[in-house]
């Protein structure tokens, strides 16, 4: 009986040391918010998410031009939609299968799909949901599509 107690307690201690591994992964997710390209939004908390079609979210992704960099942009169009571009070499672009069109909220000062074209879904890293810092800017990031950026034609389900 006593031996069992000691065993259980030792294991409890062992378990308390192991969560370091789990918390390291969590820290990695949070620390990655630090750098982003362009004048986009500030530090959100991330969570992994799929993209349900029809919803417009802010997404964190690996930059297609520089794989070390992560950028935060808003999803404007999904696969099959036709987008009217701003500053892209083609006036209208149909988003290919398995890709999305992302844009920063600050048009003209944003390094987004208008520069590098549609982004493959495999590059998607996370969904930005809230701003944590600075405390004066605590807010939930709304999934809202600006009305002037509606796709010209949406793919019917």
């Amino acid at each position: 009986m006593l031996g069992e107690d000691i065993e259980a307690r030792r294991h409890f201690l062992n378990l308390r040391c192991q969560p370091r591994r789990v918390s390291l992964r969590l820290k990695k997710c949070i620390s990655e918010v630090k750098d982003k390209a362009g004048s986009a939004q500030c530090h959100p908390l991330e969570q992994r998410a799929g993209i349900p079609s029809g919803e417009w979210r802010q997404l964190r992704e690996r930059s297609p031009k520089n794989p070390e960099q992560k950028i935060i942009k808003r999803v404007i169009a999904l696969e099959g939609d036709i987008v009217r571009t701003i500053g892209h070499k083609n006036r209208y672009v149909k988003v290919p299968r398995g890709h999305i069109w992302v844009e920063g909220d600050h048009h003209g000062h944003s390094f987004d799909s208008n520069s590098f074209g549609p982004v493959s879904l495999g590059l998607l890293h996370a969904h930005a949901t809230h701003i944590l810092w600075p405390p004066g800017r605590w807010q939930k990031l709304e999934s809202v599509l600006p009305p002037e950026r509606l796709p010209v034609q949406r793919e019917e389900e």
Binding site: E4, H11, L15, Q18, S63, K65, N66, E68, S120, G122
Partner: protein, 166 residues
């Protein structure tokens, strides 16, 4: 009695979580065993071969020309493709067949790679969908485990002339 059972259950759950985390980190950051399907990499990798893939090269940007890589498919993020790296960013790639009289070249853009299967007649690769972003690469295949007759490191490309000149 109940305490004993509860203790054992918690211990089991604890071990499962611990080893689950270790396994996840290993598969994500170190490497794993992969079964390949499809004819696009014959004769180097046949259908239903089992190979060993490592993920360290992609994290340290050590992918080189001639490496066989696993990448997420650009048109379907849920499926993976297995091809050979023919060109890195900045390389000049021959996009037409070498036997064509009028050859055309293109340059691989920054942050992208050009992939081709070894079985050129039966492979959908960058000749079809263009260069893919480096960020889609998941790992590098370097060792074949099954079938045992082909056990060992993977051979170089049988299409040596496809490699680009800078």
């Amino acid at each position: 009695m109940l305490r004993g059972v509860l203790g054992k259950t918690f211990r089991l759950v604890g071990y499962t979580i611990q080893y689950g985390c270790i396994a996840h980190c290993a598969f994500e950051y170190v490497g794993g065993v992969v079964m390949c399907s499809g004819p696009s990499m014959e004769p180097t990798i046949q259908n239903s071969d089992i190979v060993f893939a490592e993920n360290l090269s992609r994290h340290f940007y050590g992918i080189q020309r001639g490496d066989i890589v696993i990448a997420k498919s650009p048109s379907d993020p849920k499926s993976n493709i297995c091809k050979r790296v023919i060109g890195l960013e900045g390389d000049k790639i021959l996009t037409t067949s070498p036997s064509d009289f009028f050859k055309s070249h293109s340059y691989v853009p920054m942050g992208h790679v050009w992939l081709e299967g070894d079985n050129l007649q039966n492979s959908t690769d960058s000749r079809c969908y263009g260069p893919i972003p480096y960020g889609l690469i998941r790992g590098r295949i370097f060792f074949k485990i099954w079938p045992l007759s082909d056990f060992g490191f993977l051979r170089a490309s049988p299409n040596g002339h496809r490699f680009s000149d800078d």
